[in-house]
């Protein structure tokens, strides 16, 4: 067990800042009652406080922590995220985190290839900020230029877009899927190394295939609908290969994950079970520019 030696806090957070960093992508900064530590890939459960709380919190990957300040990136997809989007500085939330198994730390010699799609950015961005070195490559994929949080990404990231519309004049973007961009970069990297990815299921599968083809290690951050977020309800299981259990066993996404070795994931079952797979449908590959 490589559990992080951090304390998981159940506490309140008050909103410092909340607003868009690109079209559809919002950043939330919370000041917690106490400072917290986290490892890249970990997440937190956020909820309204008091009588208006949802029955369950909502899981969000941690983008960054600075003392008692913790940051998230999110997209509005339903009730809970709609509530987040309406928060103003001073409003209160409950926070439970950090939770879950993080991405592995850096390898002394092997390079890392980071792939983040849309709201899959936070865990890989956190990894890059904490452990990125020369030789590591980070790829972010958005639908078009408006989708991309250019300022947040800075110059460390290669960016892909399905449509070139909205790409600022002083930026360049690969026209196509982010996994195609990643494949291109991987081909030029001094591998084999490690692929770390977070995003919709088709992205994850493509990243896993790429890594397998090129004999790189691969770790993926999965999503499942969650109840507790801390491993007690068994409501969030994902199917993983385990030598001891045939043909596979249920792993709790929140506490055994959300980061799993790509090789362990039973895609036929996970792809079919994950309601998440349908929310961002596979898009046909585009001609490269």
């Amino acid at each position: 067990m490589n559990e992080p030696a951090t304390i998981t806090r159940s506490c309140r957070g008050s909103v410092l800042d909340n607003g868009p960093v690109s079209r559809g992508l919002l950043r939330l900064d919370l000041r917690l009652e106490v400072p917290v530590n986290f490892l890249p890939g970990q997440f937190a459960m956020l909820n309204r406080s008091g009588g208006r709380a949802f029955v369950f919190g909502r899981p969000f990957s941690i983008l960054a922590v600075d003392g008692d300040t913790v940051s998230f990136l999110y997209r509005v997809v339903g009730r809970g995220t709609a509530v987040l989007a309406e928060l103003e500085p001073g409003d209160e939330l409950t926070f439970l985190g950090p939770l879950g198994r993080p991405f592995p730390g850096p390898d002394v010699v092997r390079p890392a290839l980071l792939v983040g799609g849309g709201v899959g950015l936070p865990p890989v961005a956190a990894w890059l900020a904490r452990w990125g070195r020369d030789g590591d490559v980070a790829c972010f994929g958005g639908r078009d230029g408006h989708d991309v949080p250019w300022d947040l990404l800075g110059s460390d990231w290669a960016v892909s877009v399905d449509e070139t519309e909205g790409v600022p004049a002083d930026h360049t973007a690969w026209h196509g899927l982010v996994t195609e961009l990643a494949a291109d970069r991987l081909a030029h990297a001094e591998g084999p190394g490690t692929v770390l990815a977070c995003g919709p299921v088709p992205l994850l599968r493509a990243a896993a295939d790429l890594a397998a083809r090129e004999d790189w290690d691969c770790w993926l951050s999965l999503e499942e609908h969650m109840g507790c977020g801390y491993g007690v309800c068994k409501g969030c299981v994902v199917p993983v290969r385990d030598p001891a259990v045939s043909p596979w066993r249920n792993a709790t996404c929140c506490s055994e994950g959300p980061v799993f070795p790509a090789a362990d994931i039973v895609w036929e079952v996970y792809g079919a079970q994950a309601s998440l797979a349908v929310t961002e449908p596979e898009r046909p590959p585009k001609e490269k520019p």
Binding site: E3, T6, I7, T8, R9, S10, C11, R12, L32, E33, V34, N47, G51, A53, F54, V55, F56, G57, T94, L96, E224, H225, G227, C228, Y230, G231, V232, C233, K234, G235, C236, V237, R249, N250, S255, Q273, A274, S275
Partner: protein, 316 residues
């Protein structure tokens, strides 16, 4: 919270239930706090831990063999609660006795082991194995027979709806558990729960736990089909509170000691059960939302002499 004048019990003081002294009256409910081992890293801003003031953790239900549980999705949030169809995923009694029980003892977690099976004799076999393996445990206080899980096809409803079967299960476990508290957890999905409670008590249960989840269903509007692959699930959370209170009242009227569970969101809800005569309460769905729910609730119910006028407690 200002406590009402009639409330004088310290829920964090030891109390006797059957042959055991429990450290307190606020417990976590089965299936909503795992095996009680997943929250050792958790703390509130003030350092309070999920185990502070806790009377018992009722473990996830353990069955004779390991179970993978039902297909996903297994858990749906509703506006008034949750619907689950976990399907008793658990490690099985052997792994539980080999690994989990010692860890609980080691961690000093006051424990009630929840057991389920499909035949009364199996309850006897598991109880015997538990008694054997747990003989030296001083934090293991009792067993709760889950006679009511609505998500398992083989056992399922009818099992725990029949007073004779309830009695047979209790009797089978009782003989092997001379010095641990024995509870029977009842299903609310019957017309008269008092009869089941009476049957359990007469067969030797020290108390009953009530209620387990209520049979419910949610429809996915996009497809027009039930959200859960097995259609039905177990409804829990705030929406079942009035039902749980009614069932507990029925059981109290039948003269059977009862541990109240169902819909408790805060200390006020727990008080509602105590007001009716429950000897202890369990926190389920709320404990899933917040690992400190039961601990906070226990702390909030310690009388400090500060009572309030009648007429002011009802609403915050």
């Amino acid at each position: 919270m200002n406590l009402p004048a009639w409330w004088t019990i310290d829920p964090c003081a030891p109390f006797r239930l059957g042959p055991r002294e429990f450290p307190g009256r606020i417990w976590t409910a089965s299936g909503c706090f795992g095996y009680g081992l997943s929250a050792h890293d958790v703390a509130g801003a003030d350092g309070r831990t999920p185990y502070d003031g806790l009377g018992a953790v009722v473990t996830k239900t353990v069955t004779p063999s390991p179970r993978p549980g039902n297909p996903m999705p297994r858990l749906v949030e509703l506006p008034t609660g949750a619907l689950n169809s976990i399907g008793l995923e658990n490690v099985g009694i052997d792994a539980f006795l080999a690994e989990t029980l010692p860890a609980l003892e080691q961690g000093g977690v006051p424990t009630v082991v929840s057991l389920a099976a499909t035949r009364p004799q199996e309850f006897g076999t598991m109880a015997a194995a538990l008694q054997d393996a747990g003989a030296g445990c001083c934090h293991w206080h009792g067993v709760e027979l889950n006679l009511s899980c609505p998500n398992v096809a083989e056992g399922g409803h009818d099992f725990g709806r029949d007073p004779d079967t309830v009695a047979a299960c209790v009797a089978a476990a009782r003989v092997h558990l001379p010095d641990r508290a024995l509870l029977a957890k009842l299903t609310p999905n019957v017309a008269e729960i008092g009869i089941l409670a009476r049957a359990a008590a007469d067969a030797g249960a020290d108390a009953v736990s009530a209620i387990n989840t209520v049979v419910g269903l949610e429809v996915d509007l996009a497809t027009g089909r039930p959200v859960l692959p097995r259609r039905f699930g177990g409804y829990s959370g705030p929406g079942i509170l009035p039902i749980a209170l009614a069932k507990v009242d029925e059981i109290v009227s039948a003269g059977v000691p009862v541990v109240g569970v169902g819909g408790i969101a805060d200390a006020r809800d727990a008080l509602r059960f105590f007001a009716l005569g429950a000897v202890a309460v369990q926190v389920g769905t709320s404990q899933m939302r917040d690992p400190l729910a039961a601990a906070d609730l226990a702390a909030g119910l310690v009388p400090d002499g500060q009572t309030q006028e009648p007429g002011q407690t009802q609403d915050p």
